[in-house]
């Protein structure tokens, strides 16, 4: 596999308040990466910053390389080719991402005309094919419908069709199913994995739902207060999380079967970005925190094949992991 996109040392500050504090993340071609974390942890800002979609007053630093070419701060002509063409994005609230006074055909054809060398009848045929692909029944007739005539799940399907219009190499799905009912969520997730397989597309699935990410991604990165604290293959992360925050998140999830136990809640709340604690941002809530945690922020360091964690005290957990593997 070859590397598709590499983010290094990405940091973002809004009027001097840092919200993203050095994110390193790489994605292979065709890979599905999950990004989990609580609200305000920087999951969405990472990709908005990478694609130059943040407001002008945001201070962005670091590097984002797509196929080895730097795109952070690239001229807008180049970014216009990247956004929608190479990298497409879908959001939590699909209804507000569509124009309510234009038909689906107008909006789909607009995306196609921008990113593909098609014209006239070919555009319309392609629009119908896309709508078919995302499972909208009676696609030919539904093309002339307006967004409000679709149900919530169908609007998200239309959004996915628009995202696919440019044949992207990478789809950023930002909480794509959070606003949907459970059975519709299952439909959309299945659709995403289907189009990903069919188009050989890489995907970043941003979600606060550990279960959604675990089931749909090869690899998961856990974010906390503007940093990645742990990255691992998803089965390993959920079977045996190393960072105390990742452990806390998994312990806080009520089980659906087996005996009921008291939830291990993480005490306290996420720190205010304007008053970040010195050292590890998680230390004030961490049960394992020692003196060294308050001194310097730990960096994301590899602990095993394809696993890395940013925690001083992870050393102990790591030894346990390696010990078990050696036996």
């Amino acid at each position: 596999m070859t590397q598709l996109i590499a983010i290094a040392g990405l940091s973002v500050a809004f009027s001097g308040v840092p919200v993203l504090r050095g994110v390193d993340l790489a994605l292979q071609k065709g890979e599905a990466l999950g990004l989990v974390g609580e609200s305000g942890s920087g999951k969405s800002v990472t990709w908005l910053a990478a694609l130059g979609l943040l407001p002008r007053h945001a201070q962005v630093a670091g590097s984002v390389r797509l196929d080895g070419r730097e795109i952070l701060g690239a001229p807008s002509a180049e970014l216009d080719h990247v956004r929608g063409g190479r990298i497409a994005m879908i959001f939590q609230d699909p209804a507000s991402a569509l124009n309510p006074v234009l038909t689906i055909r107008k909006q789909l054809c607009e995306a196609l005309a921008l990113h593909r060398d098609l014209s006239g009848e070919a555009v319309k045929a392609e629009a119908r094919r896309l709508l078919d692909l995302v499972g909208i029944p009676d696609a030919a007739r539904r093309l002339s419908a307006y967004p409000h005539e679709f149900s919530g799940g169908q609007v998200q399907r239309v959004m996915i069709a628009m995202a696919l219009a440019g044949n992207p190499d990478l789809l950023i799905a930002d909480e794509p199913t959070t606003a949907l009912d459970a059975t519709i969520q299952a439909q959309i997730l299945e659709l995403l994995s289907l189009v990903r397989r069919e188009m050989g597309m890489a995907m970043v699935l941003i979600s606060h739902d550990l279960g959604v990410v675990a089931e749909n991604c090869d690899r998961v990165a856990v974010m906390y207060a503007g940093r990645i604290v742990e990255a691992a293959p998803s089965n390993q992360l959920f079977a045996d999380p190393v960072h105390p925050y990742a452990q806390g998140l998994i312990g806080a999830l009520p089980p659906l079967d087996g005996p009921r136990r008291r939830l291990t809640a993480i005490p306290g709340t996420v720190p205010d970005p304007a008053h970040m604690p010195s050292g590890c941002a998680y230390a004030p809530r961490c049960a394992l925190a020692g003196e060294s945690c308050g001194l310097a922020a730990p960096t994301l360091a590899p602990i095993a094949d394809d696993r890395s964690v940013a925690c001083v005290r992870a050393e102990a957990s790591r030894r346990a992991v390696l010990g078990m593997a050696a036996e």
């Binding site: 009912d181 299952a186 997730l189 675990a214 959920f238 806390g248 089980p255 659906l256 009921r260 005490p267």
Partner: protein, 328 residues
């Protein structure tokens, strides 16, 4: 079996809905013949997707909305008529918590004042006693008096939901209806509030009606769980047993759609189609157009909620079909 605190029998509620400005009004059956019993000190969980009638059921149980038919009994007595003194006394003993704590709080009042309000309204205690009670309530929901002096905007989401909980507990209610109380909270904060609710319930022997779309949270907190689909209960049973061995095809699909870490999506049941429009309720079993196992009988005959052994009841011809055919 503990005595029931709340008995709901065959409540129905429909709303008139107009399609378009000049369209004909159609009746939307939000709740259709729902019966429930909640034992004292227990929690009944109500799950279902949007439009299944969970919230309407909660509002009717609390007397916020009258049922078109059927009745609700509290401690064996029918609910008093709204607006009467008896109704006010009864309402002090039953409270509600909503999903959005910021919407439930007044942004221009310190939260301690808002926690005190129910005591003022119901005239409970002397002013000094009320102040003590507010401090006691803040402590009960693990907040400090300093938090009490703040405005809602200066508190985090989890803290706001604790304030709403403290206010609901002010009048020492016996019965609490919680409508998606933790859905807007982050996972780690959600666990704090769920634990707090469990602790308070044990300490105060509260009876809860817990409404949520989140199967995990419902299982964590409930003794009995009822699953609703388009205004009807399709399956009801003990919380431990129901999600481990769901009988109704809809419950099976819901459980299967609930993603779990460590379980890949192999064999997941993905339902086709959207949840049906409550205004155009399918004939027969409302679930049959989406049901992977539907038979012709499902399209014509409404299945009744029947006991299938243990304390499980299911409304599905395929599950209860054998018995009913024998009876016929």
């Amino acid at each position: 079996m503990r005595p029931p605190l709340v008995e709901v029998s065959a409540i129905s509620r429909s709303y008139a809905m107009r399609s378009g400005m000049f369209g004909r009004a159609t009746a939307v059956h939000a709740v259709d013949g729902v019966s429930l019993t909640i034992a004292k000190g227990e929690t009944l969980g109500l799950v279902g997707e949007s439009g299944s009638g969970k919230s309407t059921t909660g509002r009717i149980v609390l007397g916020l909305e009258p049922p078109d038919s059927g009745d609700v009994r509290f401690e064996g007595r029918p609910m008093a008529a709204p607006g009467t003194a008896a109704w006010r006394a009864q309402r002090a003993r039953m409270q509600m918590i909503f999903q959005d704590p910021l919407g439930a709080l007044d942004r221009r009042l310190p939260v301690a004042v808002q926690i005190r309000e129910p005591l003022d309204i119901h005239g409970l205690g002397t002013p000094a006693e009320r102040e003590d009670r507010v401090r006691e309530l803040l402590r009960a929901v693990e907040l400090t008096p300093a938090h009490g002096a703040r405005y809602p905007g200066a508190l985090s989401g989890g803290q706001r939901q604790r304030v709403v909980l403290a206010r609901a507990l002010a009048t020492k209610p016996d019965f609490l209806v919680c409508d998606e109380p933790v859905s807007a909270l982050d996972v780690s904060i959600q666990a704090q509030v769920v634990n707090l609710l469990c602790d308070l319930q044990a300490q105060l022997s509260l009876t809860l009606l817990f409404i949520s779309h989140d199967l995990r949270v419902v299982r964590q907190i409930s003794n009995v769980v009822a699953v609703m689909y388009l205004g009807r209960i399709v399956e009801i049973g003990s919380a431990d047993d129901l999600f481990a061995r769901p009988e109704h095809p809809y419950t099976q699909a819901l459980v299967s759609a609930s993603p779990a870490p460590g379980r890949r999506s192999a064999g997941r049941i993905v339902l086709s189609g959207d949840p049906p429009n409550p205004a155009a309720r399918p004939n027969g079993c409302a679930f049959h157009p989406r049901c992977p196992r539907a038979v012709p009988r499902c399209a014509s005959e409404v299945p009744a909620l029947l006991a299938v052994g243990g304390n499980r009841q299911v409304a599905c011809h395929l599950v209860t079909g054998a018995e009913t055919r024998d009876a016929a």
